[in-house]
């Protein structure tokens, strides 16, 4: 009697996991386009207040004739859909910037540590470990307390919480790549270390880095939203997803959609990104 079948790996992968990639990829593209080009897609100005149309339900009309509100308005009569789009733009830009920063920093450190090994490796990894001794959330909170809020600071804080994972992953890849023949050959020929890293090792790690980047992306969106929720995010007037959820808390029984919709959106975006990252990871493990 066969054990529960692991199935035919080849076929299952083709159908199911590529489907995962396709769906998440398409959704991700949609989300990115709609938020990055928020000014085009947003039906209203996210800051425009309609004081006589506050807390109107989704699918209602504005009383002053400015049109339709798909997702309702908040306590100052601002259109939620528009704020979601602009907020998304901010969240995504912040996270992308932070991921790029963390990725660049982490990858470089990981590569150096992995390639040169020895003392350099030990010191760099010790640094990583030291940072890991404080849970990310706490580190972020303390840094914001000290640096203050504001877009640049938040990006820095996010990046600081992310570089370690990049460094680790890159380092282990480099360790295995280092022993490969083409690297040995290059070294034998006297090619300087940096050049080897740049021309031979780096290109082989694109997939790994991309996977890690996607994972970090969703983590950072979540962390940024959490900080915004706690009131430690970007300034108050700019719409952010975390901030919108926090604002909506007071209206939870009269206008529950204020908190619920942004939360759903965050969850959806993270889900899509995680799916995508999952697919990338599957692909890279072949």
């Amino acid at each position: 009697m066969a054990t529960e079948n692991i199935g035919n790996p080849q076929r299952k992968l083709d159908v199911r996991d590529n489907l995962k990639g396709i769906i998440s990829g398409v959704l991700l593209a949609f989300i990115l386009i709609v938020t990055l080009f928020a000014p085009f897609f947003a039906p209203h100005d996210p800051m425009e207040q309609h004081l006589y149309d506050i807390l109107i339900e989704p699918f209602s009309h504005f009383s002053d004739g400015s049109g339709y509100s798909l997702l309702g308005t908040d306590q100052l009569g601002r259109d939620i859909l528009s704020r979601l789009l602009y907020g998304g733009r901010l969240s995504l830009l912040m996270s992308v910037a932070a991921v790029l920063l963390a990725g660049a920093l982490g990858s470089v450190i990981g590569m150096i540590a992995g390639y040169y090994g020895g003392k350099t490796d030990a010191v760099l990894m010790r640094l990583a470990d030291i940072q890991l001794s404080i849970p990310n959330m706490l580190l972020a909170i303390v840094m914001v307390a000290v640096l203050g809020s504001g877009l640049a600071n938040i990006i820095i804080v996010l990046a600081v919480t992310g570089w370690v994972d990049f460094a680790r992953v890159v380092r282990s890849q480099v360790l295995s790549l280092r022993e490969r023949e083409f690297v040995e050959a290059a070294r034998a020929m006297g090619v300087p270390g940096l050049k080897i890293m740049w021309r031979h090792i780096a290109p082989n790690m694109v997939f790994t880095i991309l996977t890690q980047a996607s994972l970090q992306m969703s983590r950072m969106i979540l962390l940024a939203a959490a900080l915004g929720f706690l009131g430690l995010g970007v300034d108050v007037s700019t719409p952010t997803w975390g901030g919108m959820i926090n604002d909506g808390r007071s209206y939870i029984d009269s206008a529950w959609w204020l908190s619920t919709i942004p939360g759903l959106v965050i969850a959806l975006v993270i889900l899509v990104i995680n799916l995508f990252a999952d697919w990338l990871r599957d692909k890279s493990e072949i």
């Binding site: 054990t3 001794s133 404080i134 706490l138 840094m143 307390a145 430690l232 969850a267 995680n274």
Partner: protein, 305 residues
């Protein structure tokens, strides 16, 4: 073995030192620590006095040593807002956060183990697929949002539970459930993959061939090995949870360390912030250490690096 134990202990100590150092530098980067440690209305003279006593005019390495000496003595400074020993304030709140984390991890373990077992048993069926999708989604939901939705449904609409605070046993249900969502996924997944591994082991096949059913075989031989990685994951997630409780406590006004940290940060109460971060970090490191020990205890066969 003893060598390994000692080495790990040293590593943990180093990690604690690391946390302490990070906090030390962060506070000093932001400007004048003496200013930070005093209430805003403190006079210039008071600031100067504190600078002297903190040794801020000494070279940096000396300051560092003084700082360490103070910490070892348990002197974390006085909370600016509450005017009490910062360390005591944190320790006072610790049990509430631990209680929350413990219940949350308990819920997560029960749910995760169930999910893991069902999805293993009914591998590749609809149930498996749904469960996998379910836990994947659960992991993507922001915990503060889950908290708000739970409040909306169970406290506001159905009125089964209170919306906040720590009044009686009902208060812990919603926050614990909210906090439990995230770790269910890693627990279930780890259990599933390790059960699958175990089921394919040779001694399992032997046992099956001898006529024992699948469940019994797992029970007799495989369980310990199957659970090993899970226990590690549980322990790890517990540590992460302590810190993640920050947001949950904010949503539910749960009087734990997380809420204290947010209050402290909002009040610019740096001695308290410092105390909170250090205590939580030490706990976190301790948990990692304990995780390793558990791992070792359950399977001494594991080769030490």
């Amino acid at each position: 073995m003893r060598q390994y134990l000692f080495k790990r202990f040293l590593q943990s100590l180093l990690a604690v030192l690391g946390a302490v150092t990070i906090v030390f530098f962060i506070i000093r980067i932001s400007g004048d620590p003496a200013r930070l440690m005093l209430p805003p209305e403190a006079s210039e003279e008071q600031v100067q006095n504190l600078r002297e006593s903190l040794g801020l005019n000494d070279p940096l390495y000396m300051q560092y040593l003084h700082y360490l000496a103070d910490l070892v003595r348990g002197d974390f400074g006085k909370s600016l807002y509450f005017k009490d020993s910062a360390l005591e304030l944190v320790l006072e709140r610790m049990p509430a956060t631990l209680e929350l984390a413990l219940w949350a991890i308990a819920i997560a373990v029960v749910a995760g183990v169930l999910a893991g077992i069902i999805s293993t048993y009914k591998r590749n069926s609809l149930a498996d697929y749904l469960i996998n999708a379910g836990i994947f989604v659960a992991q993507s939901l922001p915990v503060f949002w889950v908290g708000i939705v739970l409040i909306l449904i169970f406290a506001v609409e159905l009125k089964w539970f209170p919306t906040s605070g720590n009044v009686g046993w009902k208060s812990i249900v919603l926050p614990a459930v909210a906090l439990a969502f995230y770790p269910i996924a890693p627990i279930a997944r780890t259990l599933r993959s390790s059960l699958i591994d175990v089921m394919n082991q040779s001694y399992m096949l032997t046992s099956r061939a001898q006529g024992f059913s699948l469940m019994k075989s797992i029970w007799k031989r495989g369980l310990k090995n199957a659970f090993l990685p899970v226990i590690t994951v549980i322990s790890m997630e517990f540590g992460v949870m302590i810190a993640g409780a920050v947001v949950t406590e904010a949503v539910f006004s749960w009087p734990g360390v997380g809420q204290l940290i947010v209050q402290a940060v909002n009040n610019r109460d740096f001695p308290l912030v410092q105390a909170c971060v250090l205590v939580v970090s030490v706990l976190y490191i301790l948990l990692n250490f304990v995780t390793d020990m558990i791992y070792l205890w359950l399977d001494p066969r594991i080769k030490v690096k």
